[in-house]
């Protein structure tokens, strides 16, 4: 299978301090990859590094054969990576439809195919397309946020803790949507607090701790690893 994204030995942080040290992560085409780890492990930071929101001092990031290290976020968006932040990831005072429209801001021409694709994935949203996004429940907001990010037809979707604060029922639903999205040909890299559930559903996983790679492998493999279980998963 083709390698879509590879972070090779990335070191960097926000200011002068390096939060990530020599972190390597790889995502293949149409793959769901999850990053787990304890609080402060640098999970979200690793994801932000891909999206150009970090000062990178070492290593490289290759996406779809392009070296995107140091690119500005809006160039990365155009190249085919979309990012859904953990919080404040919707336009609250705009309708669902307008949220999607803003997601496709850089796209020229007819957007109807993109709307159709997103509304097909999230039929609930289509019914309520005129509703203000701020009036939706947490799970539905997450769907709007993902829908917004999918409007540009990305090849890779970055999700920062998409299930944070959601009930188990919604968590399952979000995971199911991730599979559906993957089935349309989009690879997903996500950060998760709910390590157990996330590893069970993802194709592969990385365990980070203190800004460094600890373990990696298929979800099942990591779940079976006693060290991983004891260190991060709380049994």
């Amino acid at each position: 299978m083709k390698i879509l994204l590879s972070m090779n030995g990335v070191t960097g942080g926000y200011g002068d301090a390096d939060i990530l040290q020599d972190v390597s992560i790889q995502v293949d085409d149409k793959e769901i990859v999850v990053i787990v780890g304890p609080n402060g492990a640098g999970k979200s930071t690793a994801m932000k590094a891909v999206f150009g929101l970090l000062k990178i001092r070492g290593g490289s990031i290759i996406f779809d054969d392009d070296r995107i290290t140091g690119w500005a976020p809006n160039r990365i968006v155009q190249r085919g990576i979309c990012y859904v932040p953990q919080v404040d990831n919707i336009f609250r005072e705009m309708s669902i439809h307008e949220n999607l429209e803003m997601g496709a801001f850089l796209k020229k021409g007819d957007l109807s195919a993109a709307y159709d694709r997103v509304y097909e994935l999230f039929p609930d949203l289509k019914e309520r397309r005129k509703t203000l996004a701020g009036a939706l429940s947490g799970g539905q907001r997450q769907m709007v946020a993902m829908g917004r990010a999918l409007m540009l037809d990305p090849k890779l979707l970055l999700l920062d803790e998409p299930t944070a604060g959601l009930s188990p029922r919604y968590m399952e639903q979000i995971f199911q949507i991730c599979r559906d999205v993957r089935d349309t040909g989009v690879a997903i890299l996500l950060v998760e607090q709910h390590a157990k559930q996330a590893l069970a559903f993802a194709d592969r996983g990385y365990v980070l701790a203190a800004g460094q790679n600890r373990h990696e492998g298929t979800g099942a493999h990591l779940l079976a690893d006693r060290e991983v279980a004891e260190m991060f998963l709380g049994g």
Binding site: G13, Y14, G15, D16, A17, I19, N39, G40, G42, K43, S44, T45, Q86
Partner: protein, 320 residues
């Protein structure tokens, strides 16, 4: 110009620099240390000037007064009055970002201006309050000026030492933490609001004192004595140019800006009448431009804020 004239002028300027330095010091407490934007300096100044005038001047027909209290009572009264006005405004506005305080303080100054102009029984409206006693005002002219300069200098020195002491105390450290890190400040909650309120009130009290010193020096105060916008703005540029956060910078800024301001006034007054009027506005334009240039090219001012130990640790952003 004759030597005597020059010496007199220097005395005169020294007194004004001292008064403005007091205002700049007051603003430094508010802006330099607590990050509070006060655009109504002239209002607090006027309240101080009128309060002290009312408390100390002899009886006059048709207005409140005739208390003839000693000047220092008037000055303390000026500080209290300015503080009492600052208190409710701060109480309401300091919960929000400083933008709201900026707008409200413009409003305060405007209301104070209206009250001074319209409440004749309080302020004698346009005619103003005259016969305000001046300490050592009975001495011959030059000696009297020198005595007043000495008084202003002493007041300024005392204010400086007190403010400086506060800044190096835990209070000052906390103020800077609040100013520099809004998030940490929010986490401290109510306490922060209270500290900010303190800073706003203390700063305003100093501005009130500055107003009182001005009124006693002139022996009179009228609504037209100062142009509110010009006075407010001059104090701002003094602090920013001198170095906000630095008390010595505030005083230096007052000296530099007042010297430029009044010397340029003398220069432009030599021009024919019609140009002289225009020149006044050109000077205002230039002083506005000066602020923009300082903000852009030397935001730390002439004397940057001294590192007081607590500022040196780098703010390391953590995840989330």
């Amino acid at each position: 110009m004759e030597l005597i004239g020059l010496a007199n002028y220097a005395l005169f300027m020294g007194i004004f620099i001292g008064i403005y330095a007091l205002l700049a010091l007051g603003l430094n407490i508010q802006w330099g240390f607590a990050g509070l934007f006060n655009a109504g300096i002239a209002g607090f100044f006027a309240v101080g000037a009128y309060t002290s005038a009312i408390l100390t001047s002899p009886y006059a027909e048709g207005r409140l007064g005739g208390f003839e209290l000693p000047f220092y009572v008037g000055w303390i009264g000026a500080m209290i009055a300015a503080a009492l006005i600052a208190w409710p405004i701060g109480k309401i506005c300091l919960r929000f970002r400083s933008d709201y305080l900026a707008i409200a303080s413009i409003g305060v100054a405007e209301i104070i201006r209206l009250v001074i102009k319209s409440e004749a029984e309080l302020t004698n409206s346009a005619r103003g309050i005259t016969n305000i006693p001046r300490p050592y005002g009975d001495l011959p002219y030059v000696q009297s000026q020198m005595a007043y300069l000495a008084i202003v200098a002493i007041v300024l020195l005392v204010a400086y030492l007190m403010v400086e002491r506060q800044f190096n105390a835990p209070w000052g450290r906390m103020m800077r933490a609040i100013r520099d890190n809004e998030l940490a400040a929010r986490a401290m909650g109510k306490n922060v609001e209270y500290r900010r309120l303190e800073a706003f009130i203390f700063g305003s009290a100093l501005m009130g004192l500055g107003g009182a010193l001005f009124a006693h020096f002139n022996r009179s105060i009228t609504p037209e004595a100062i142009d509110p916008m010009v006075a407010t703005f001059l104090v701002w540029i003094m602090l920013i140019l001198g170095g906000s956060g630095n008390n010595r910078g505030a005083i230096l800024g007052a000296a530099v800006v007042w010297t430029i301001w009044s010397v340029s006034e003398i220069a432009t007054d030599q021009l024919p009448q019609e140009y002289a009027v225009k020149a006044k506005y050109i000077r205002l334009f230039l002083i506005g431009l000066m602020l923009q240039l300082v903000l852009r090219f030397r935001p730390e001012g002439l004397l940057p804020e001294p590192l007081r130990g607590d500022l040196r640790s780098d703010d390391v952003s953590s995840e989330k």
